[in-house]
Symmetry: C2
Subunit: 348 residues, 2 copies
């Protein structure tokens, strides 16, 4: 049973409730938010009246005095990139569980948008989760002084972060390819500003050296399906027999292009993606990929942020804790034995 809606206009306030019960507003406030500090009888009368009148607290007024908004903000570069879906869900559910609301902002891959939001948000959110930030280390560190921040996949001193450990998994992927007989492999890099891409490339280089296989970097490519066609064409100018793609979006785009050009995956070329996004398991062929625990990352980031907010409230020093989430290789059907003949002889 929903209480009767407040008459057309003015909303029900705490003083309406106070008047109805015949007490001071402070008593109502206490009864509602610090039940221990009023008599049980009073609490019940107040709660009854509040329900009766359809009273709901005004979060703005509360925020103004308390200095916290009970809302967190998730800044992501592109809401349509499925990689972030899990992040959104994880952050959303955890925020809700902790009694916070989640604001979602799409920065459209623009560092400038990111920076201006961080300035404006200052007062309207209690903390920010920054996914795949395009900001410089200095900008990030500066922002973190003013506002609790947790980054995802970005390692800046003094700024807590969740790191999805794809470099380690990328090495597993390389091992996998080497075990299948591949000796010449390409890494299709992400945006030049991507910290993850650089990290992964470095890890791959070392592993390639250890295995004694040839590894080359192509790109950078935008992390999109459209760019996948370009990545596919780039790889076809080389003689590699396998490609490690910056992410699944790029790999899926490439898969389509390979099909167009008559390149059969994995017979002619093996393809490895990254992230295990929605679709990676039902594309054609299903993608061997690095399964990033994205939703977990969203939850963990939220908890770290909440802890960081708490710490600030207590006046403790800021922390720069980093949480590293393991990522594992998931083998599906886009990788297979290296072709016997050299790749340059492939029909194309």
């Amino acid at each position: 049973m929903r209480p009767p809606a407040a008459s057309a206009h003015r909303a029900v306030t705490i003083s309406d409730v106070a008047a109805a019960v015949g007490v001071a507003t402070s008593t109502v406030s206490r009864a509602l938010s610090q039940p221990g500090r009023v008599s049980e009888a009073m609490r019940q009368r107040v709660v009854a009246a509040a329900n009766e009148l359809g009273y709901y607290p005004n979060p703005q007024a509360r925020s103004l005095i308390l200095g916290r908004t009970q809302s967190l903000t998730l800044l992501i570069p592109d809401v349509t990139n499925p990689f972030y879906f899990g992040l959104i869900r994880g952050a959303q559910s955890q925020s809700k569980a902790r009694g916070y609301r989640l604001l979602l902002v799409d920065t459209e891959e623009l560092g400038g948008v990111e920076a201006s939001y961080l300035d404006e948000l200052h007062k309207s959110t209690d903390g920010v989760i920054l996914a795949a930030s395009r900001l410089s280390d200095d900008e990030l560190a500066a922002a973190a002084v003013r506002l609790p921040i947790v980054t995802i996949n970005r390692d800046v001193a003094g700024v807590p972060s969740v790191i999805i450990d794809t470099p380690a998994a990328a090495v597993q992927a390389l091992d996998h390819l080497v075990s299948l007989g591949h000796t010449s492999i390409a890494y299709l890099a992400g945006p030049a500003t991507s910290w993850s891409s650089r990290k992964r490339w470095r890890a791959l280089q070392q592993a390639a050296k250890r295995h004694g296989v040839a590894l080359q970097q192509l790109g950078p490519f935008a992390p999109t399906r459209q760019a996948g066609a370009a990545a596919a064409d780039a790889i076809l100018t080389t003689t590699v027999t396998a490609g490690l793609f910056f992410n699944d979006l790029l790999a899926i785009g490439a898969l389509g292009r390979f099909a167009e050009r008559g390149v059969v995956v994995p017979r002619d070329l093996s393809v490895v993606g990254c992230d295990d996004i929605f679709g990676a398991d039902f594309c054609n062929p299903p993608l061997t990929t690095l399964a990033a625990p994205v939703e977990q990352a969203g939850r963990v980031a939220t908890d770290m942020l909440l802890r960081s907010i708490q710490r600030r409230a207590d006046g403790s020093a800021a922390d720069g804790h980093h949480e590293r989430l393991a990522t594992y290789l998931t083998i599906r059907e886009s990788t297979g034995a290296a072709p016997a003949s050299t790749r340059s002889e492939r029909p194309a």
Copy 2:
């Protein structure tokens, strides 16, 4: 050049700026929000000081007095359902363009969560976009009295809404199947509470009668990939040669199950999805589907909501305008000629 951050703690307020310039706070307020009502010289001095000090307005304080929060809320049943991605993006970008922030809430397919949010949100958001609401007509109408609401795919008197016209496209899909020789077809229904599913079924029934083909409904099914396996098995107990699925998620799930059971699509069975979500074009085989203009729906809903908010502020009567967005059949590779032999003889 970012202004120097405010010293560790207290945020810069309008009175800090006023003190710096040596004027009253009201002057600063006017200079910043009603530039016309202050001398140009004064405006410049104030703006300079504000930048100097790193002043940003406190939206909470402003909301409190203005009675609007400059934020809209998008309530969706499941953030991980790719159908909503476009909606999120459309609503997000349009909100931003109009100077509003977007709050995202996942109701987890629960009507109760939806209802309680509508109550609480009352004061913290200026309006709500309700996608695929699980609420009853009465509940919706009641909520719309208290708060500007726009629904998506839900037709309730007095509540403005955006209707993605899938029934019309479903009829196109039926025509398509009939033209391919299918005479016995199944509709794999969505949740019983889904208004869209019911509407579509009704439109299909009429069209089937017109064509003189047999149409049966199976389900209801959850709108998920998992449920797709159940839907696939259900369809295999019948002799239909084609299935129209409630949405792409369900269809993609079914595609996987068909592959497992050796049913070749479209040779043995034609499959039609709905929504054209991310993945519909690269699953195996690519899905014939009804391409819903989802991102547009998000933008349109946002604009309608803003208009509705405006109308309320002006004291005009509430409107119940409905915007219908055309949806078209997109033919890909999951539909083909009806098998010559009857489906019950299919290898399985």
